[in-house]
């Protein structure tokens, strides 16, 4: 059950070009959040912001002190609302609805796994919570992380510090592989697996499409975190749909990204 709360901003930090980390004091949401779920973020005054905006719950914290109090959002300034969010400072109030959606699912922990987290640009925002919730098993994960340029590869050290193997790619070659993150995935999938493989991806639509195709071609299970414009976030406006296909690859019906996703099996959706 989602909570709709007015939460205070507790931190706002610039992580990279136009990329920010926003922390909110929302203990109920922090306690309930699961990797891949999201919140709808707005302002308390409806006349200042009619439609809230969806953001992945990037991290909860502090993890040390018993139950977590805060949720963290990692976001890119994209349009009018994200620009406005970036001007908010600690103490400012936001309206937050969450946790929402169906997040990632993990296979039962009954043997070695090779988790391939594929992130394009701000798509990275969905993965820290996954690594937090993997806990001691974070070493089973590799992060394949691409961006236009090195400065945009925010949080990469955070993953490395937690035992995640990080491989980078940039469009301009300023860090890691000079090329696309899907090149990294293709190379990895060509190598023998360390255990049961699972691909989880978040990023721009063309990247998701390529990731899904690569994984399906090798019959590797693959979960894609989709984005679509949302008005409600809890399944009623029917604004956020994407077409779902049946096993024959034909259109089946429109599914809601907010409640039936945002994470989908790559076989079901064609981004």
């Amino acid at each position: 059950m989602p909570f709709d709360v007015i939460a205070a901003v507790t931190d706002q930090r610039e992580l990279g070009p136009d990329t920010w980390l926003l922390a909110l004091d929302a203990p109920q949401i922090a306690a309930a959040a699961r990797a891949g779920e999201f919140v709808m973020l707005g302002l308390p005054e409806i006349d200042r912001m009619l439609i809230r905006r969806p953001f992945s719950i990037a991290r909860v914290g502090p993890a040390e002190a018993g139950a977590p109090r805060t949720i963290e959002i990692v976001y890119k300034v994209f349009g009018s609302r994200t620009a406005m969010f970036s001007t908010l400072r600690p103490g400012a109030k936001m309206s937050v609805l969450g946790p929402l959606g169906r997040g990632f699912w993990l296979p039962e922990p009954d043997g070695p796994r090779e988790l391939l987290l594929v992130a394009g640009g701000i798509g990275i925002a969905i993965f820290p919570l996954l690594v937090q919730q993997l806990g001691a098993r974070a070493g089973e994960a590799s992060l394949l992380y691409g961006a236009r340029t090195a400065a945009e590869l925010v949080l990469r050290d955070w993953f490395a510090e937690r035992g995640v193997a990080v491989e980078l790619a940039t469009d301009d070659g300023s860090a890691g592989h000079h090329g696309m993150v899907t090149d990294l995935l293709e190379a990895r999938l060509a190598r023998p697996a360390r255990g049961r493989r699972l691909v989880m991806a978040c990023g721009p639509t063309p990247m998701l499409r390529a990731v899904g195709d690569l994984a399906m071609a090798r019959e590797v299970p693959c979960q894609l975190a989709l984005e679509e414009t949302m008005a409600c976030g809890f399944g009623v406006c029917l604004g956020c749909v994407v077409p779902r296909r049946n096993p024959e690859g034909e259109f089946d019906r429109f599914v809601r990204v907010c409640t039936e996703g945002p994470v989908f099996d790559a076989r079901e959706v064609a981004p």
Binding site: I46, I51, T229
Partner: protein
């Protein structure tokens, strides 16, 4: 009666709502999705998402886009169809004791009649609201809503099949909305609800395409409130029929504004997305407003503009 203020309103054919706050079709799902936020029985009523004879897939995405103080939608009446509605949604709503108004949609007179006939066999429906005003589908809806003769005929066809309260939901995309309200009344409607959305369009100038896959959508939200209030005022002065006011309501002041313009009840739409508890809050806020203003009965507000 609530906090010393009488809140019951009579919206025609003996239907007395416990208070004048309803939720607008398409913005409140089938009601059940809002249970974490709202006590459904605290509302005057719930108008469910438009129901057609068969399930409808709706339009391809993108379906929505925000605009200044509003939003455009082109959902295209995606819905589960009348059969599944009756099987899966209605029983749960009935069990909770919610006042359910079913928004009915079709592409032909026969469609509207078919949905209503299927629903006539069911208990727990307080009224029908004929959606003759959806701008986001190729056939039906708006076509009837813009032609007084078609509206009168369609309303009459449904009227002949039901003794339940019958509301007609009007589109504002017409030259003279009072004429349409008159046609609905002449066809036997017990009330008119207005307004549905205004046809609008946003272009993604980078991609040189309409943002919405369907090109145009319907504008809702506070941006349209002054237009909707004018429409209610116009219909109220032109004909004598209960009016349900709709358009951009976000607070008790807005509710009072629509009632003063002539609405007996109102529907809250887009605001439900921003604040899923708003409909219930508005019931309380309206009562507080009345108390603070010495209004002992919300009906005193209806059409009570000083002339």
């Amino acid at each position: 009666m609530s906090g010393g203020v009488r809140t019951e309103v009579d919206v025609g054919r003996g239907l007395v709502l416990r208070n004048p706050i309803l939720t607008a079709s398409g913005t409140f799902g089938y009601g059940l999705e809002y249970e974490p936020f709202v006590d459904l029985t605290a509302l005057g009523g719930i108008v469910v998402k438009g129901i057609s004879p068969a399930p409808r897939a709706g339009n391809p995405p993108p379906r929505i886009v925000e605009t200044p103080s509003g939003m455009l939608n082109a959902i295209g009446l995606q819905n589960v169809g009348v059969e599944r509605f009756v099987r899966e949604k209605l029983p749960a709503l009935r069990e909770r004791g919610a006042v359910v108004i079913v928004n009915v949609f079709g592409s032909s007179e026969a469609d509207y009649v078919a949905v209503v006939e299927a629903l006539e066999r069911e208990q727990g429906i307080a009224a029908y609201e004929l959606n003759l005003s959806c701008p986001n589908v190729d056939k039906g809806g708006l076509a009837f809503g813009r032609d007084p003769d078609a509206m009168r005929a369609l309303t009459r066809a449904v009227r002949e099949r039901t003794g339940r309260p019958l509301w007609v939901k009007l589109t504002p995309n017409v030259t003279d909305i009072a004429e349409m309200a008159r046609a609905a009344r002449d066809g036997g409607a017990d009330a008119v609800s207005l307004v549905n959305t205004y046809v609008g369009m946003v272009i993604d100038v980078e991609r040189r395409r309409p943002v919405l896959a369907r090109r145009t959508g319907g504008l809702s939200g506070p941006a349209i409130r002054p237009l909707a209030v004018a429409a209610v005022d116009q219909v109220h002065r032109a004909i004598d029929l209960p009016i349900i006011g709709i358009g951009g309501i976000t607070c008790a002041r807005d509710v009072v504004e629509f009632m003063l313009a002539g609405a007996r009840a109102v529907q809250v739409g887009t605001a439900n997305y921003n604040d899923p508890a708003i409909a219930q809050k508005l019931v309380d806020e309206l009562v507080s407003w009345c108390r603070a203003h010495g209004v002992g009965d919300v009906n005193e507000l209806v059409g009570a503009l000083e002339e």
